[in-house]
Every structure is written in structure tokens, then in C-alpha cells.
Symmetry: C2
């Protein structure tokens, strides 16, 4: 299992709509991807327009190849992308 951490900045004042979009995009799109294991959305306290979306995947390639290069990714981005004020910073982690 690996963890994707997506550091996201959204346009101000869009919190409720963004959070609803993430739930919709996860449940209707991302959760269908091979190797998708679960997610948590964290909302910034100091940086109120910052979110960290954590997604657990069975393997790195389930995210970087299967999801990112497959037909689900544009569907996901169509739902959540309009809220981004800048490109998210995404990296992957192992539990140490």
C-alpha cells in the first residue's frame, strides 16, 4: 500500500462546493479505479484555502499509470479541477 498526498489550493469561498465535488468525484469516479483503497480530505486551519487529499492505493502504478493514464482521470479532473487555484502538488509515500 502507498499513500498519495495531493496538496491542493482552491479559490477562496468555494469550500462547501469543493468538498462536495471531492466526495462526488471519489464516489462516482476514483473509487472505481483498480487499487483504490480509500481517501481522507483534510482542510487547512492556518491556510484556509489549502486542502490535503490523501488517497491510499494498492501500488504506485495503480495511481500513476492505471488511474492517471486511464479514462477515469479526465472525469475526475472535470469534477474537481475547476476549484483549483493552482496545479496541485502530488507526491507518493510509503509508511515508514
Amino acid at each position: 500500500m502507498i499513500l498519495e498526498l495531493a496538496d491542493i489550493r482552491i479559490h477562496a469561498g468555494q469550500h462547501a462546493a469543493f468538498e462536495a465535488a471531492v466526495e462526488l468525484g471519489i464516489s462516482t469516479v476514483a473509487a472505481k479505479a483498480n487499487g483504490f483503497l480509500g481517501h481522507t480530505l483534510h482542510k487547512g486551519i492556518e491556510s484556509t484555502d489549502r486542502y490535503v487529499l490523501q488517497i491510499s492505493w494498492s501500488s504506485l502504478e495503480d495511481h500513476t499509470v492505471g488511474f492517471r493514464e486511464g479514462p477515469l482521470f479526465p472525469q475526475w479532473r472535470a469534477i474537481v479541477g475547476p476549484f483549483f487555484s493552482q496545479p496541485p502538488v502530488v507526491e507518493h509515500f510509503n509508511v515508514a
Copy 2:
């Protein structure tokens, strides 16, 4: 409950020693703090000298006041601080 996310960069080649220091520092120091609920250490895949340390606290002030301004913080920093190649970037989050 809130989540502290500490984005940490360490000196190259110190992974095993840093991970052992975090376990020591958590178990002997941080876990004694009021409101400490648990932690997970994530190790970067793309950025191999990057770690994200997640600590759950009962409240924001348990970390920012009780721990950061109390006697445990210098003990914690003495154990893990020497591994940092730059000051960690720390912010707090609510589960959205």
C-alpha cells in the same frame, strides 16, 4: 481532533537513523504530551529525503501551546532536529 502535518526534509543517507529517532522521540517525549492521540510517519517515494509526519491531537492548542511552549518540545527537537536539512513546514488540518 485535529491533524498536524509536518513536511520534513532530512540530510541524505540518514533515513534509518531518522526513522529510529522519530520512534524514540514519539515514544519517550511526544506521546507524553496532553492531547497526543497518535502518529504516522510517511516516507517520500519521488523525494527520497522527504517525510510527512502526521500527528493527531485532541485540539490545536494541545500542539501549539501545550506541546510547543512546554518542556517537552526542546527534548523532542534535540532528538529529531539534527536530521533536518531545513526547517520543517508545519500546518494543522481538520478532517473535511
